[in-house]
């Protein structure tokens, strides 16, 4: 299995499109950082809105590495699924269109192993992608903007997390984002096993994410009640839960706490369930796949 994983990784990381994702992310984050470096104060004033009328706010301190990273993640993580799909959607179908898939399937490894090795290789890719995001958005931002308390804006208000209480939340958030992205990867994998070209699964994955996100966010009671609880996109934003800090009755934050841990655990469980189901389906379909001679098709 380790052998297979190595082969799959080799194939993924020899493909130019793999690095495209890294380049896009670097460019995206750099643009945000540049923007905030120049206009961070204005951005913070905009974010805090009317609060500036009643409070004296040290805007410059608020524009720190942690805040920049939070802002980056808010904007970026919604788009990372596209980059995940770009690679995961191609992993089976790309080989089907090249013809190498049937050669793989005639090798002395089981089809289950092939699919699992492919999924594991995608996991490594997703991990590398998130590590890359973490390094650029967190480490570089901290180096450039420094470290300070993090203010998180929710629709219900603002909360301030002390500088020393932030880093672990990022680690957890990235960990959660990894699981969330692996759901996207599993969708792409499944679609990839069904397709003979790589564009289809990539576009279909992105389409599914867009539609599910829209339904998740629509405040229509029918959707909210009966559909939303079953959509994976409902749980994708769970990483933010790590930045919703617990507080006492009079609004004093409790260091090291999470406001609603069960919500995050539930999201995590839902996402893992999605992964299990989607990967199992992919394995099933690939095992049943018939490599028809052209004559039959």
């Amino acid at each position: 299995m380790w052998n297979l994983l190595q082969i799959e990784l080799f194939k993924i990381f020899k493909k130019p499109r793999t690095y495209l994702a890294f380049a896009i992310i670097a460019a995206f984050i750099f643009l945000i950082q540049l923007g905030l470096y120049v206009n961070g104060r204005d951005w913070m004033m905009f974010m805090l809105g009317s609060l500036g009328e009643t409070m004296n706010i040290e805007y410059d301190k608020l524009v720190n590495g942690y805040a920049v990273c939070y802002f980056v993640l808010n904007l970026l993580l919604v788009h990372v699924p596209i980059l995940v799909a770009l690679v995961a959607g191609d992993v089976v179908s790309g080989e089907a269109s090249m013809g190498t898939l049937r050669l793989l399937a005639s090798k002395p490894v089981s089809r289950t192993q092939i699919i699992l090795a492919k999924y594991a290789a995608i996991a490594v890719y997703v991990f590398a992608l998130l590590l890359w995001i973490a390094v650029i958005s967190l480490a570089v931002s901290i180096a450039v903007f420094g470290r300070n308390d993090l203010v998180v804006a929710k629709t219900t208000g603002l909360q301030l997390i002390e500088s020393g209480d932030v880093l672990w939340r990022y680690f957890c958030a990235f960990g959660f984002a990894f699981i969330a992205m692996m759901v996207v990867a599993a969708i792409s994998l499944l679609l990839s096993t069904l397709s003979e070209n790589s564009i289809g699964p990539i576009v279909a994955t992105v389409g599914i994410i867009i539609v599910c996100t829209l339904i998740s966010e629509m405040e229509i009671p029918l959707y909210q009640q009966y559909i939303k609880p079953y959509l994976f996109t409902t749980y994708m934003l769970g990483w933010k839960g790590f930045f919703y800090i617990g507080s006492t009755a009079d609004g004093e934050t409790i260091k090291g706490s999470i406001q609603y841990l069960p919500g995050i655990v539930k999201s995590l469980a839902a996402l893992l369930l999605y992964i299990a189901a989607l990967v199992a389906a992919s394995v099933y379909i690939f095992r049943k796949k018939i490599f028809y001679p052209k004559i039959i098709l």
Partner: protein, 230 residues
């Protein structure tokens, strides 16, 4: 009958005596406060505002005559209410001319206090009216209510300990008006983690916020550079 007359006369004249008395009391309080040219106090600040969740912060409070005051969170970030500059009584008592009006007696907790209203003579300033609740025995202000033109009404409650001789409180509770906080639209999706959301109708309009500063130590009249207040 004569005695009764005298007593009545006494009652009749008492407002005048009280007025002089109150001027004197304010003067005494002011003198006490004037002993302090500057200070640098260390303490903790607790904020209680509906839409703000912040930790208890370690703060330094810097003051310099005549009216410079700065609350600083050296380690992190704190939101300081705009009227907080008035937590120093110097800023209230030494800010221009005002007329002193006696507003009778009251009680704060178990302590008897004199109630004084200060009306600024100039009507251009931000402050419209200040009400002081003064502990006449210790010659310190326990509570103030200030109505301002731009920053609403705010209240100060103070309790004293070690630094009572300088009229500097150990604990200050600052109550102020807050406006509703609205997050800019389209900035981010909230994660629905299962906690109950505020319903649309319930607005955070003109609510009260509270800030509580507990001082652990004052370093008085050691001199502070102006740059601290920038």
């Amino acid at each position: 009958m004569k005695t009764i007359m005298l007593i009545l006369a006494g009652f009749q004249f008492s407002p005048i005596t009280q007025a002089q008395d109150i001027q004197l009391l304010v003067q005494k309080v002011k003198e006490k406060i004037n002993l302090v040219n500057d200070y640098d106090a260390k303490g903790t600040m607790k904020t209680n505002v509906t839409f703000l969740k912040v930790p208890v912060a370690a703060v330094n409070v810097y003051f310099k005559k005549p009216n410079l005051l700065k609350i600083k969170n050296e380690k992190g970030i704190s939101f300081i209410p705009k009227g907080a500059v008035n937590i120093n009584m110097n800023n209230v008592l030494n800010s221009g001319n005002y007329s002193v009006l006696d507003a009778g007696n009251d009680k704060i907790g178990n302590t008897a206090v004199r109630v004084v209203k200060l009306l600024p003579e100039a009507d251009t300033g931000d402050v419209i009216l200040s009400t002081l609740y003064i502990d006449a025995v210790n010659q310190v202000i326990l509570k103030t209510k200030t109505t301002t033109r731009d920053n609403g009404t705010y209240e100060l409650e103070m309790s004293y300990g070690k630094y009572i001789a300088y009229g500097l409180p150990d604990k200050i509770i600052f109550t102020f008006n807050t406006k509703d906080y609205k997050m800019p639209k389209g900035v981010t999706f909230d994660f629905d983690d299962g906690t109950k959301k505020r319903t649309g109708g319930e607005k955070l309009k003109n609510q009260k916020g509270k800030m509580e500063i507990s001082m652990s130590s004052y370093s008085i009249n050691k001199g502070i550079a102006d740059s601290v207040f920038k």
